[in-house]
Amino acid sequence: MSDGTASRRRGTRRPPILLVMLGGFGLLFLLIPLMGLLGEVAWSDLPELLGRPVVVDAMRLSLLSSVAATLLAAVIGVPLAWLLAKVDFPGRSLVRGLVLLPLVLPPVVGGAALLFALGRRGVVGGPLHDLTGLVLPFSIWGVVIAATFVSMPFLVITVEGALTALDDRYEWAGATLGAGRWTVLRRVTLPLIAPSLGAGLILTWARALGEFGATITFAGNLQGRTQTLPLAVFVALESDRAIAVALSLLMVLVALAVLILLRNRWLRSL
């Protein structure tokens, strides 16, 4: 063995240089486009811009629909994750694959598929309309459905992973104390996976906030009704790019603020 050559000290050891370089490059990769965006912003117009009704409407709608989509995804996605993790039903691995589908499908195609299925003349939307008079596209319901469709996989994957990794015995402990399966789920299982659940919800929300293709195809682009921020950006791109860029930036900043704030709390565990 060669003698231990002295190396400089204090604090932790320096990470390998190649790793730092590659990681720094990865970071640059994320930063450069943001810089590009920042370079295009007409900063002086920003305050006036953000007060416009179009922008205010879009902002409100974006927040509302992304939160609603996150909640809907929680209500149907968490049980789906639970079934995938805990119940050994036939075709489970097929369903596992299906869950990832909205990730692969380009959102515009996803929106078209939603339209085929849930439009007023769709396979499901038709009967639904005949029975109840409900029209899903061109309403906030359409926006929420489109956003839920594209973002739910994030929640299902995260929660299923956490449930699979969870120590079953806590649930047994709950059961021996007289808690039925439902009570166990509510008072033991969900609190125990709270960090992963939180992380999954944040990812879902972020994806729902940025959703564009499926929404414009399925829900249309109606100011004040279905025009979310990304859709407003799209219209603005037709006329004034500076506005579009400013709106994008606004969206990014809102999202970033929320993510950084919550991430240090929840996303650790992801």
């Binding site: 402990a173 709950g174 021996t176 007289g178 008072r187």
Partner: protein, 357 residues
Amino acid sequence: MVEITVTGLDAKIVVGRGEDFRLDMELRIPPGRTVALLGPNGAGKTTAVMAIAGVIPIDGGHIRLGDHLLDDPRSEVLVPPERRNIGVVFQDYLLFPHLSVVDNVAFGLRSTGTGKSEARRAARLWMDHLEIGELAAARPADLSGGEAQRAAIARALVTEPRLLLLDEPLAALDVTIRAHLRRLLADHLDGFLGPRLLITHEPTEAFLLADEIHVLEDGRITQIGTPDDIRLRPRTRYIADLAGANLLTGWASGGTVVVSDFELHAADTQTEGPVLVTIHPRAISVHRRQPEGSARNTWPTTIKRLEHYGDRVRLQTDLPIPLTAEITPGAARELSLEQGGEIWLSMKATEISLGAA
């Protein structure tokens, strides 16, 4: 207060686990009695607990608590765990990390419909009883091992269960505090009137806490008896090792026992045929020279290994028969024993106990 019917456990548990493990055992525990299920890792102890608690259904046999049939494959009965009213103290306690200690203890009552404040009040009563009243607001992660143990016991007892299952309640603890907590556990269990099952692989725990010991090895019960039975008349090598005794197999005939071609003289002249021979390490005397006197068994050998334990010294010999003897450190020094040294062993005939094999 809820009425408690004090009734015994009567179970025959047949259940497979994984590919090739199968538990097949009977268990009867009268009210107020503690049975220890003692066995090595993987013997099936936890499997038995889970079957009784209702977490895994049995494949054959039955589980009955008093007049309640809890599980019986033949009659298609399976009561789910939450309706069995069986208290379980898990090996590493499994206190819910997201709840305060008082909410952990109150969990059972809350789950069965009691209101929050009333459940907490009842929880606090039990916690005071177990002397952890001041820890109500603490999180499980902040408890010491002993405090966590008491919280787990309080949590199990607060629902006034009809049967208490304790799965290695001391295994998670540091050796130096285990003795102390063992005493406390004995105290805490005193007030519980139902049958109790204590799972352990620590003989001391079983000897100290149980009225009766069932030894479980590889899914089968190999011995049932009082702590003294188990200690003095072990029936398998595993139990003998636990009890610290030498266990040999031989052939007895009129007071002579042949063990691997070597003849021992026993006081018991009645037992005949294949026998289990138990010899306590303290009953073997060690000498530098051939001893004179009344001991009927005496032979020379060499020390294969010499080990110092706190206040005693154990020495092992291999030939003519494998035996472990135990002496005091003083005696060891006096005899200036060392590994590989030549010695003589002697043993009175009355110290050799024989049991039918």
